[in-house]
Amino acid sequence: DAGVTQSPTHLIKTRGQQVTLRCSPKSGHDTVSWYQQALGQGPQFIFQYYEEEERQRGNFPDRFSGHQFPNYSSELNVNALLLGDSALYLCASSLEDRTGTQYFGPGTRLLVL
């Protein structure tokens, strides 16, 4: 049973560039959430996708956008990168059920120079 996978594992970009991170949910899951985890902090919710639509969004600017594909995989796009976007980006998948328990992938470490 495949768990949540993310690619790439590490990424280095420069300010102003754009980046795309990818996530494949756990087998059988249909919902994908994205979180940003700064060093030494707990994860912060960016948004969640279900049925190819953004269902809920956290307090992140429009530079952060996403997409969900028919096979439930998802992408996180960040435009006009800032130094402060350097963080671990975590993807979590869940079932559309009562608890919505989320299971996390290994994350993508993004460094913006």
């Binding site: 959430s33 707990g42 994860p43 989320q102 996390f104």
Partner: protein, 114 residues
Amino acid sequence: AQTVTQSQPEMSVQEAETVTLSCTYDTSESNYYLFWYKQPPSRQMILVIRQEAYKQQNATENRFSVNFQKAAKSFSLKISDSQLGDTAMYFCAFKQGGSEKLVFGKGTKLTVNP
């Protein structure tokens, strides 16, 4: 807005002993879920245990158990027979019923010493 507070930035315990990590939360809702996640140095966030607010019984998963005090809005994690592999950051998280986002605390760094 819901908040989650973990008041112990760091803790240590000897192998085979028991340790309790604290978590408090703030909400005016009655329907919610609480979670403990473990994040080892490898960084993958792993679900440890889940508690549904409407359930009176405290959740247990093998060596891991919680003390859920709904009136006090407290949700502590007890790890029995600590093992070296338990060394990790532990995050307490809150999810309101009907909402999709997890709200995390700042974490407690647990070190298990041989």
